[in-house]
Amino acid sequence: MTTHHPDPSPAVAAVDLVKVYGRGEAAVRALDGVSVGFRRAAFTAIMGPSGSGKSTLMHCLAGLDTATSGQVLLGDTDLGRQSDRALTRVRRDRIGFVFQAFNLLPQLTAVQNITLPLDLAGRAPDRELLARVVDALRIGDRLTHRPSELSGGQQQRVALARALVARPEVVFADEPTGNLDSRAGAEVLALLRDCVRTLGQTVVMVTHDPAAAAYADRVVLLADGRIAGDLASPDHASITAALHAVSLRDEARHERILRDRDRDPALRDPALRGSAVTR
């Protein structure tokens, strides 16, 4: 299978990425100097406890959000230096998305939803690729249905087709199985992995589910806005173990914060307490 060695030209990479939300005392460092590369034609999962910054990382990598400092390199493009218009074009032409909530347009049929990004770009869909994707995702008999007439698994497969058919450089999947039952979820994950194999598609997936992450070629672990681990050829057991270690460290840190706060009146800020507790 795949061997883990540094990739000279990753599909997408973060370099010293920092993202700070809010300012002053309420400032939260969601990303705290993350550097990571994602190999071409590989299926990578980003994991971490809630609030570890994994979603923020994905949003920055995908050009949905801009980092406070550091670089995001999509191929040779530094996304941090792009205007909103340019970022929009990058998303349209070079990136595919799969969301937890499917996010299909209710007024469009399945096939119209699939070709939407191409339509917006004014590009004609590659008929052959469309046929292959539709065939691989087994939604050929559902193309003229509207989202409300499809099951959750079918909707997510349509969303996957939408992400793939524009032949993006990277497909980002945000908890793609979060709204599916385990069988439909497994099916979608297997299809996602097949696309990596057969179409050579780069896929980056954010998930908190070790079973989902086990489908990936590599798992990047995040905690407190920093890289906390990197597993090549992961399986369910190794992922669970790594996650456990990370969250233990996390808990210890939180206890420390709570202790510090009790000692330091300056830290008795309700906003901070709230955020600390939810973590």
Binding site: H59, D65, F97, A101, F102, N103, P106, Q107, D119, S148
Partner: protein, 853 residues
């Protein structure tokens, strides 16, 4: 109990905390309240303004003497001697033609010229103080080319010798008709004939008792009235009566205000329709608002709120929204109503300020609350049926229901069938070609009933009609690329919402289109009539319908200020097919040579086919003879006759012609060659040019022919038609305004509802500008779909309504203005959607997509 109040509190606190959203939800109600209270204030303003300048009996008049047969000058003299009378003036007026003209002349009024009883103000010269002196208004002076020191000859009443009056002054009056002169009461009474006055106005000395003076005046009157007059006056009304000035002024005010009252009664109907539109908008906005809060409502249900309690809370929220909206609307109207008069005064328009009708304001605010609570009922009833489980659901494809329930479908079909049936009934009630004692009110009411049914059917079936309408209307948009396709899809994806908004727009468009069609038809009708009545600006005829003196046509042609001089012959002694038809002459007027050629309309056949051997018949004549276009008639004059083919009939022929024939055919009938009349247009526009042309013509033709100025009549009618269409369209505009507001609110709220969708489009590569453009196009589409529904209703119903009034009328469908209405509504609704669309496009794609809520 506590549970119920806490649910209520949860809803109301929400409404109070977000006043902007509350106002947005109730925006249509704000507009409705504004319009309703605005018309209350508008009525007050108009009434007070009218009362302020009716120019009736001066305030100085304490008593007024008048009678059916007038009051004699002797009585005036007697009254002046009654103790307690400080001043008495006689009023009279009479119309005097210029000798040798027909219908041309001036009215001479009696007026003291100065003092508290004067109705005129001296501008230059002196006020008349002797017989044969007159003062004229500025417009009269201009029209007749008179100046102080000039003279004017007038025919006296009772066919006496013409009198020559010297103009001694120019006076201003409240309304100057351009044919008005003033002189002393004695001379005016003599001019009027029989030395009689219309009425006498009195002022009492300070401290005099009105009742005593009235009795004394009455006594003086009966002494002064000669026995002969008394015996002739058999009816009690002939005896002069004494009334107080206050009484008379009150009567005058009532009469003046009656017109205002009628106008506002009409306005009330349109305001009511605007309120109905506002209710429809409110229903649709609340539906959207509740749909957005489905999860919150489900949560309340899940934690134990009962359906009834929830319903009560939602209705209370609606009432509160209505209260706030009503208050905002009333305050807005109040501010505008009181700001407008001073503003208009700055522009030289003297308008009275409205009052402070607190009762009406309160009623409007409470009414707004009540109406909104009513509007909220149906959406609230649907909303509280939400399953508590909905709160736990995370799936987000919450596409609205597309179809409609079976009950609604059946109701809609029944309503549509009812509308068609009632419409069919109207067709059977339509009048024939020559109806007798036909009253259009019945059929019109039935048409209104059918229209209301059809509209209700549209409300019920709307969601089903949106997609077919979009399939046709959206075709060009869909070809414009993904943006257009998405916009069409966005509207079609929520057909219930599109229908709810479209129906309101349709109501506005139906009224507007109906008004446009009605005005256009009336306009054509009046133009045709006018073209008959006033075929040219000026007509010159012989006073006795004899041929004009030789050389007169040449003299008219020589007047530089005139053009299109068209002479014609008219022969009254002809008969058509043995039909005895009085007063209709055969005329060889060449219609094509007239400036009004384009405005003549044939009721059948074509006017363009005229020529030798052909005839255009006046319709009444054609009907009497039982002929129409294509038939032949025999025209007989003395012992000669010609056979002519009828090419057209027309309702209103110019110069009272019964038949319009070719000059060659009049020759064959032996009609003398000399023209009997001339028509001409004034070369330049404007009243000054017209007055100058008439003066030049008058001096050119002298006393040999009479001159008729038709252009004045035409201007008058034109003005009234314009006024009518302005009033009608602005009333109808109220509903259109509510419709546009409705589209704006709906777009605004649906944008919030579709934040996720906007976020997705931004995420997959739609630029901000294109997203805003797409949502704006969607809003415009609401307008287009609604306008199409409206037109589909307006066309048949306005046709029916017009035909019900007069079956012979050709209904005009003004394609240009109608298309303009659709375009303007599309633009207005798109504009209403622009702001929310811009806001939606600013949503960051991430915020829209992150997490479930």
């Amino acid at each position: 109990m506590t549970r119920r109040t806490s649910v209520l509190r949860a809803q109301l606190v929400d409404a109070v905390r977000r006043p902007a959203r509350t106002l947005l939800t109730g925006l249509a109600v704000v507009v409705a309240a504004f319009v309703v209270f605005g018309s209350v204030l508008g009525y007050q303003i108009t009434e007070r303004t009218v009362l302020a300048d009716i120019g009736g009996t001066p305030a100085a008049v304490d008593l007024l003497v008048s009678g059916e047969d007038g009051v004699s000058t002797e009585a005036l003299a007697a009254i002046r001697k009654v103790p307690g009378v400080a001043e008495a003036v006689g009023r009279t007026d009479s119309f005097h033609e210029f000798p040798g003209t027909s219908g041309d002349g001036i009215s001479v009024y009696a007026d003291p010229g100065s003092g508290p009883f004067a109705t005129v103000r001296l501008l230059s010269g002196d006020y008349p103080d002797a017989a044969d002196e007159i003062a004229v208004t500025p417009r009269t002076a201009q029209r007749l080319g008179l100046d102080v020191g000039g003279t004017v000859r007038l025919a006296a009443a009772d066919r006496g010798r013409p009198v020559t009056l010297t103009v001694v002054g120019v006076v201003a009056t409240p309304d100057d008709h351009g044919t008005t002169g003033y002189t002393t009461e004695t001379f005016a009474a003599r001019l009027a004939g029989q030395d009689r006055l219309r009425q006498i106005e009195l002022r009492l000395t300070p401290g005099a008792d009105p009742a005593e003076v009235t009795a004394a005046v009455t006594a003086a009157l009966s002494r002064a009235t000669p026995a002969g007059v008394q015996s002739r006056a058999t009816s009690a009304g002939a005896q002069p009566v004494v009334r107080t000035g206050a009484e008379v002024r009150q009567e005058e005010a009532e009469r003046a205000v009656a017109g205002v009252r009628n106008l506002f009664a009409l306005a009330t109907m349109f305001v009511a329709i605007a309120v109905v539109a506002a209710v429809l908008v409110a229903v649709s906005t609340f539906r959207i608002v509740f749909a957005q809060r489905m999860r919150q409502l489900a949560l309340l249900r899940a934690v134990g709120a009962g359906r009834a309690g929830l319903l009560r809370a939602l209705v209370a929220e609606g009432a509160f929204t209505g209260l706030v909206a009503g208050l905002a609307g009333v305050l807005g109207a109040y501010a505008l109503g009181h700001a407008l008069p001073p503003l208009l005064r700055a522009f030289g328009l003297d308008v009275a300020a409205p009052g402070h009708p607190v009762g009406a304001a309160l009623a409007v605010v409470l009414g707004a609350a009540g109406v909104t609570a009513l509007a909220v009922l149906a959406p609230a009833a649907t909303a509280v049926r939400v399953a508590p489980l909905e709160a736990l659901r995370t799936a987000t494809t919450t596409a609205g229901r597309r179809g409609i329930g079976r009950l609604r479908l059946v109701t809609g079909i029944l309503l549509a069938a009812g509308a068609a049936l009632v419409g069919g009934l109207v067709v059977t009630m339509l009048p024939g070609p020559n109806p007798e004692n036909y009253d259009p009110l019945g059929p019109l009411l039935v048409i209104v009933a059918s229209g209301a049914l059809a509209f209700a059917a549209l409300v019920a079936l709307g969601p089903l009609l949106v997609r077919p309408a979009l399939a046709v209307l959206g075709w060009p948009l869909r070809r414009l690329g993904p943006l257009g396709r998405l916009a069409v899809g966005g509207v079609g994806g929520a057909p219930r919402r599109a229908a709810a908004v479209g129906v309101v727009v349709a109501l506005g468009v139906t009224l507007t289109a109906g008004a446009l069609i009605g005005v256009a038809t009336l306009n054509t009708l009046i133009r045709g009539e006018l073209a008959g009545m006033a075929p040219a600006d000026i007509g010159v005829t012989d006073p006795d319908a004899a041929p004009l003196p030789p050389g007169l046509v040449e003299r008219v042609r020589a007047v530089g200020a005139l053009d299109r001089v068209v002479p014609y012959r008219s022969s009254a002694d002809v008969r058509v097919d043995q039909v005895d038809h009085d007063g209709l002459a055969a005329v060889d007027l060449e219609l094509r040579a007239l400036g009004t050629w384009g405005e003549f309309g044939a009721s059948a056949g074509s006017l363009a086919d005229a020529g030798p051997g052909r005839v255009v018949l006046r319709r009444s004549l054609a009907d009497a003879a039982g002929v129409g276009p294509g038939d032949s008639v025999t025209v007989v004059r003395g012992d000669r006759s010609v056979r002519l083919r009828v090419t057209a009939t027309m309702t209103d022929t110019p110069v009272r012609a019964g038949l319009l024939v070719d000059p060659a055919d009049l020759d064959r009938l032996g009609v003398p060659a000399g023209p009997t009349g001339v028509l001409a247009d004034v070369a330049d526009d404007g009243e000054q040019a017209r007055s100058a042309a008439v003066r030049a013509l008058r001096s050119a033709v002298g006393p040999e022919a009479s001159i008729q100025v038709h252009a004045d009549d035409r201007d008058d009618l034109d003005g009234r038609l314009r006024e009518l269409s302005t009033v009608l369209l602005s009333l109808v505009g109220l509903t259109v305004l509510v419709a546009v507001v409705g589209v704006g609110t709906t777009t605004g709220l649906s944008v919030v509802e579709r934040t996720r969708e906007s976020g997705l489009l931004r995420a997959v590569g739609m630029t901000r500008r294109r997203l805003a453009a797409m949502l704006t196009v969607e809003a415009g589409l609401y307008g287009v779909v609604g306008a199409t529904f409206g037109l589909l209703l307006a066309l048949p119903y306005s046709w029916l309504a017009i035909v019900a009034v007069d079956a012979q009328v050709t209904v005009e469908f003004p394609a240009g203005p109608l298309a303009l209405v659709v375009l303007m509504l599309a633009a207005a609704t798109a504009l209403a959607g622009l702001l929310p669309a811009r806001r939606a496009s600013r949503v960051s794609p991430m915020a829209a997509l992150s997490t479930g809520e």
